[in-house]
């Protein structure tokens, strides 16, 4: 063992040590016909090891999500469309703002159609979307979500068409439109936030550790973007600003919650590329629109309009970036083999007897 290169591994002598060891191995081979001790390992070289400390060569055991750009975009569009349907129904029944209600129907229907398009693009062929409606499985958030989208899409498109028929063609379908609007709003309530449950109920640690807050986060992000779209369409109903303040405030709280979390699974939201995107999206969707909207609530109408437009653009960009960040963080989290293997968490393996303690001799040598 005295010939182990680890024991005289000063950089200046490293090369010489390896050469000497090679000569030793050759001599031993000539003398005995075989070599008993270790070969040559470069000091500090990344020699791959499978051990209770490194798992299986540090390869990740979970699979990364197979979703591309369509899915975060769907999260964004679906969240905005679902919230718009609820805002529209309230504007119609309580606010008495018919113009806002009409545009909400358009946003909801348009969003539902784009959502279907994005999902079909992810699946590859249109008929594959219909396979989602073969069965209803309450234990699968994907199944619940697909049915919610189907219902939401049907009712919001019906409400939008009935609205056009009433306004442009003068057909007597106003009641039908209002009924469809009510159902569309009812389906919009879960549709705006179910995507949080969808990714939360998975094996990806960064997602399932946040399953209790993701739907609220996604729901508020969706509301924020719906308000943003409606304001950019020229609506100045003060209720929209109030909703925007509420959503931005809750998003800010969620951001603070993640930043102060000590949960190891939350790391991808704070470091690396996904952490950078999470912050790049978190700031313009939480604190920035909150400040702008609060300022707008206490300023003159012209100034207020400009501030609200700025808040709308900021929260739309932030909302999209937030969804991208969460999906990207899922990829990073899946690659972290330490979390599912519970490495560095001081828990013993339930499969080993106490006397056969999982101590790796490879790790001892290193």
């Amino acid at each position: 063992m005295s010939s182990n290169p680890h024991e005289r591994s000063t950089p200046a002598h490293a090369e010489l040590a390896r050469e000497n060891r090679l000569i030793e191995i050759r001599r031993e081979a000539e003398r005995k016909g075989h070599v008993e001790a270790h070969g040559i390992r470069l000091p500090g070289a990344p020699f791959p090891v499978a051990s209770p400390e490194t798992g299986y060569y540090g390869l990740h055991l979970l699979k990364e999500p197979c979703w591309s750009w369509e899915i975060p975009s769907y999260f964004f569009v679906g969240g905005a469309a679902g919230s718009a349907a609820v805002i529209g129904a309230m504007a119609n029944w309580i606010g008495g703002d018919k113009r806002l209600a009409r545009d909400c129907r358009m946003v909801a229907a348009g969003g539902a159609i784009i959502s279907c398009g994005l999902l079909i693009s992810d699946l590859g062929r249109p008929e594959r979307f219909l396979a989602m409606l073969r069965v209803f499985k309450p234990q699968s958030p994907m199944s619940v979500g697909a049915w919610t989208l189907a219902l939401f899409g049907s009712f919001s498109v019906a409400a939008a068409l009935a609205g056009i028929a009433t306004d442009r063609l003068g057909l007597p379908v106003r009641v039908l439109g209002n009924v469809a609007e009510a159902f569309s709003a009812a389906a919009g309530l879960p549709f705006s936030n179910y995507t949080g449950v969808l990714i939360g109920a998975s094996v990806i640690p960064v997602w399932n550790k946040h399953v209790g807050s993701l739907p609220i986060y996604f729901g508020m992000s969706g509301l924020n973007s719906a308000v943003g779209i409606l304001e950019l369409m020229g609506h100045e109903n003060p209720a929209l600003n109030t909703l925007g303040i509420g959503a931005a405030a809750i998003e800010t709280l969620e951001g603070v919650n993640i930043e102060t979390s000590r949960e190891p699974a939350a790391e991808p939201l704070k470091h690396g590329t996904s952490g950078f995107i999470a912050r790049l999206g978190g700031i313009p969707s939480g604190p920035v629109p909150l400040a702008l909207r609060l300022a707008a609530a206490f300023s003159g109408s012209r100034r207020s309009r400009k501030l609200r437009k700025a808040a709308a653009i900021s929260s739309l960009a932030g909302s999209m970036l937030t969804r991208i960040a969460w999906v990207h963080a899922g990829h990073i989290s899946a690659r972290d083999w330490r979390l599912p293997l519970e490495i560095g968490q001081k828990k013993d393996s339930p499969f080993l007897a106490a006397e056969a303690s999982p101590v790796s001799k490879m790790a001892k040598r290193a």
């Binding site: 197979c66 609820v86 309230m90 590859g124 396979a131 994907m142 109920a201 509301l223 909703l243 056969a356």
Partner: protein
């Protein structure tokens, strides 16, 4: 009633020949999974995936030396053939929105390729990272437990091909018994680190592919506490209801406030 069947993979007699990988590919006509050198011992397969349903792991480590065991100064080299665990409560089966993933009469978990629509939700629902979407085809694939062979009373191709009977196949009760006996035998020979991997105390509630390994199962990428993601459903939907309540009450209050002004 067909008996519930199981694999029992005894890594202590595996010789790392990869005959199971080849037999699986042959029987199921699976495409190659690339010809890459990983540098991780002799494992150039990497992991289970859409085109890899059996995967021989090459673990270089140092288990307890026993009778016929290793010198404590040498690295030991053990092999273990990995496969879909066919969980008692399967995450992929629970998550599948199309009903493409079913439980067969043999207790295995089977993806019906003609029903799968490629939503890839099973990929993030498997606590063992087994199911994978084929990027060229868009659908998810994994070990079928050789459903076609079992239907006509044959062993799965991998178990049939295994030259050392490292992969054993039979009724699950029998396999559990064989595994227990083998572990006790190894321990009586001084191999105290031999253990059976079967996570019965988690929400997975046990697997239909038992493994006997030496040392910590974590070095074989076997998670100590795999959980079925349906366990997160309750918290998720509660949170969803809170979010829906916030949206409903928020817009109610906002519009009531705006009309008063």
């Amino acid at each position: 009633m067909s008996p519930t069947t199981a694999f029992f993979t005894d890594s202590t007699v595996c010789i790392g020949c990869k005959a199971c990988e080849v037999a699986c590919k042959e029987w199921n006509s699976i495409a190659d999974d690339g010809f890459h050198w990983t540098g991780n011992s002799y494992d150039n397969t990497g992991s289970l995936g859409h085109s890899t349903w059996r995967h021989v792991k090459f673990v270089e480590h140092a288990p307890e030396p026993g009778l016929g065991g290793n010198s404590p100064d040498l690295i030991s080299w053990v092999f273990s053939s990995d496969v879909c665990k066919h969980c008692e409560v399967a995450g992929c089966l629970e998550a599948c929105p199309t009903g493409a993933i079913v439980r067969t009469e043999f207790g295995g978990v089977y993806i019906q390729p003609d029903v799968c629509n490629g939503c890839a939700y099973c990929v993030v629902a498997c606590p063992f990272g087994v199911v994978h979407r084929n990027p060229n085809d868009g659908r998810a694939f994994k070990c079928t437990f050789c459903y076609d062979r079992q239907k006509v009373g044959l062993k799965p191709a991998c178990a049939q091909a295994c030259p050392t009977e490292s992969i054993k196949f039979g009724p699950i009760e029998e396999m559990k018994l064989v595994a227990q006996e083998r572990m006790e035998e190894l321990r009586s020979r001084g191999m105290n680190d031999a253990c059976i991997y079967d996570p019965v105390d988690t929400s997975v509630e046990g697997i239909h592919a038992l493994f006997l390994v030496r040392g910590d199962p974590r070095q074989y990428n076997l998670p100590p506490h795999p959980e079925v993601p349906t366990t997160y459903n309750r918290t998720g939907w509660t949170s969803s209801a809170v979010a829906a309540g916030l949206l409903l009450c928020g817009s109610l209050i906002a519009f009531l406030g705006s009309t008063k002004r």
